[in-house]
């Protein structure tokens, strides 16, 4: 029988991965005893529970694939561009200032949606940048660095 990659199967694998990862990382922390727990005790406990649930889900999903669905589509384009936009903002805000950060965030973020005219985009960039700076810097008095120099 061919293995069907269902949502439950993937979730089980994900939980197993998170659980095992937690247990492995927590090996580096002192375990202690139940009466006197070290920093590793609780994480290993949680990791074991999550890994166990993951394993059970994995087996159940592999045996009964009909109880879950298969993911039809992934929104790769929005995911990639949105994440890129946020990471660029994070990289720019300290070095190039908030204005550059916001403009890049909106421009790269638009690639995620690919809708609307160029004029609309230009208005959006101007209005949103002005509104954001106005609210945070002048309204809430947060000392953001604005310009690249």
């Amino acid at each position: 029988m061919k293995l069907q990659i269902t949502k439950d199967l993937l979730s089980g694998a994900l939980f197993l991965l998170i659980g095992l990862g937690t247990i492995i990382i927590a090996q580096g922390y002192r375990l202690g005893t139940a009466a006197n727990m070290g920093p590793g005790y609780f994480p290993i406990m949680l990791g074991s529970i999550v890994a166990l649930i993951g394993a059970v889900m994995l087996v159940k999903a592999a045996r009964n694939p009909e109880t879950s669905e298969i993911i039809q589509t992934w929104e790769f384009r929005p995911l990639v561009f949105l994440t890129a936009a946020i990471l660029l903002f994070s990289a720019l805000i300290d070095t190039r200032g908030a204005i550059a950060g916001v403009v890049v965030l909106i421009l790269v973020g638009r690639l995620a949606g690919r809708e609307g005219s160029m004029l609309e985009l230009a208005i959006m960039v101007l209005a949103l940048t002005a509104a954001a700076i106005g609210i945070f810097v002048y309204g809430l008095n947060i000392p953001l660095r604005l310009r690249p120099w």
Partner: protein, 501 residues
């Protein structure tokens, strides 16, 4: 009498000009957002959290609470007018509310929803004022083992009542707890799960996780679907319900209020469950059940009241025990912590102005909502035409700057992007993020109390069942688990929750 003094204090706080303004801004924003397509209250609170840091604690909480119940209210408006619940708990209102709108009776449907919401809101507020203090007094006696069991119960019931299987929800809750542990361990000073990153010494900031899971992940999945919606009713005429409408509605309103109030107190049990339970009750009690689904006003009155009552009584476990009952409550609790207030039963005695001010402001907010909503409903409806391509850049800009300003840390923004990716993965796998955020918030507290309880009991787990209160909490948790295993109930729960998707 104590209660009157407390309420007087509450009134003096809530009626201060600045707090009235925060309340007004909160419900206005909330209604606005409840109506906007594709933007729920969770996203809004996650995005606006950083904006409230500069406010005093009372102001911040009053405004965030206003957003919360304003959005619940706005969601019902779109449910009635365009058959789209702006919020999951308004899904039931769609059934009969939209049918009423199609029959040209949108006005009475909206008015009854408003009346029901106000009645329920006021009752819920009174219940908070009455139940809060005694509950907090009991909770002050809680030891580590009671807290531990209580948190476990909250996590289990929250996991049980989301869409999908219980174990999936539990796994999400414990995963959240694992992420919550990242940072320096308070007892040993050891850095855990920091991967050597200096930005993680204090752990992930709550705002970072909330914005990533609820704002960024939502945007990605929303951009995948097209947002086309047809507006059936563009004009609402004849707001006033007839005498028959009122006669048919007052009992469902009272029953819905009672049902919602009780379900709202249970941590984890949601507004969605409350509104579905009320709908089922009304249909069962009705002499003419065949009218349900074809524009029965009882089907709007009951669920809307239940929904709003639950929204109010959710605050009881959140404020008196420090245990959030839903993801939205977890966000409010997170806001409280950021304000430097440690949630728990001591909030009421140490910050009486905060507690009572919030309670009274909710009452004011409910009245404001009606004044705002009914006459202006036409204006609100035009908001439905705002395309999503205008909304998501706004959400992105405000979340990114907001996250940055919390600690003035660009790394936090990058972490939020990371949680956005994780959150998207969760969404695609049908893993509900709500238990995750509860687990994230409760994880460190759970560890601390578990450690203390085990220290006192010299490592014996039996202490959790020999202490009566703790045993009772665990019993309720077990009951939730067993209920979900009974196939019929599990199936009905899924049917009930399915429609919110």
């Amino acid at each position: 009498m104590d209660l009157l003094q407390h309420l007087a204090l509450g009134f003096s706080v809530a009626f201060s000009p600045s707090n009235l303004l925060y309340c007004f801004v909160g419900v206005l924003l909330g209604t606005f957002i409840g109506i906007l397509p594709g933007v729920g209250p969770l996203v809004t609170i996650a995005v606006l959290l950083p904006l409230t840091f500069g406010l005093p604690p009372e102001g911040a909480m009053i405004m965030l609470a206003g957003i919360y119940y304003g959005a619940a209210y706005g969601g019902s408006t779109t449910a009635i007018l365009v058959n789209l619940p702006g919020e999951s708990s308004a899904a039931v209102t769609c059934i009969d509310g939209y049918q009423m709108a199609r029959q040209g009776r949108a006005g009475p449907a909206l008015a009854i929803a408003a009346i029901g919401s106000v009645v329920a809101g006021c009752f819920g507020t009174i219940l908070i004022a009455l139940c809060g203090p005694p509950l907090a007094r009991v909770a002050l006696q809680f030891g580590a083992e009671e807290y531990c069991s209580l948190m476990l119960m909250a996590l289990v019931s929250a996991s049980a009542l989301v869409r999908g299987s219980l174990i999936k929800g539990m796994a999400m809750a414990f995963c959240g707890a694992i992420f919550g542990l990242a940072g320096t361990d308070v007892n040993s000073g050891v850095d855990r799960f920091t991967f050597g990153l200096p930005g993680l010494a204090e752990g992930f900031d709550f705002v970072v996780v909330a914005a990533g899971l609820f704002a960024f992940a939502e945007i990605v999945s929303n951009l995948g679907v097209s947002h086309q919606r047809g507006l059936i009713t563009t004009r609402v005429t004849g707001l006033m319900p007839t005498r028959e409408d009122l006669k048919a509605s007052w009992k469902p309103i009272l029953r819905g209020t009672a049902l919602g109030s009780i379900l709202g107190i249970l941590p984890g049990a949601g507004q969605t469950i409350a509104s579905f339970a009320s709908y089922a009750t009304e249909r069962k009690l009705s002499k003419t059940p065949h009218r349900f689904g074809h524009g029965a006003i009882e089907g709007v009155a009951g669920p809307e009241s239940a929904n709003n009552a639950a929204a109010q009584t959710h605050f009881i476990p959140t404020l008196t025990l420090g245990i959030p009952g839903s993801a939205t409550m977890a966000l409010l609790l997170g806001a409280l912590m950021i304000q430097g207030v440690t949630p728990g039963p001591q909030v009421m005695t140490q910050h009486p102005d905060l507690f009572w001010g919030l309670v009274v402001s909710m009452w004011i907010g409910n009245v404001l909502l009606v004044i705002l909503n009914l006459p202006l409903v036409g204006a609100w409806v035009t908001l439905l035409k705002v395309p999503y391509r205008w909304l998501y850049p706004i959400i992105m800009v405000f979340s990114c700057i907001g996250i940055f300003t919390v600690n003035m840390s660009a790394t936090d923004v990058a972490f939020a992007a990371f949680f956005g990716v994780i959150g998207y993965l969760f969404l695609k796998l049908d893993c509900e993020p709500a238990p995750f955020i509860l687990g994230f918030l409760l994880g460190p507290m759970l560890e601390e109390n578990f450690r203390r309880a085990m220290l006192q009991s010299r490592g014996s787990l039996s202490v959790f069942v020999t202490e009566p209160i703790s045993a009772a909490f665990l019993g309720i948790a077990l009951l939730f688990m067993l209920l979900m295993v009974v196939p019929m109930i599990a199936k009905r729960k899924d049917e009930a929750i399915m429609e919110e998707a």
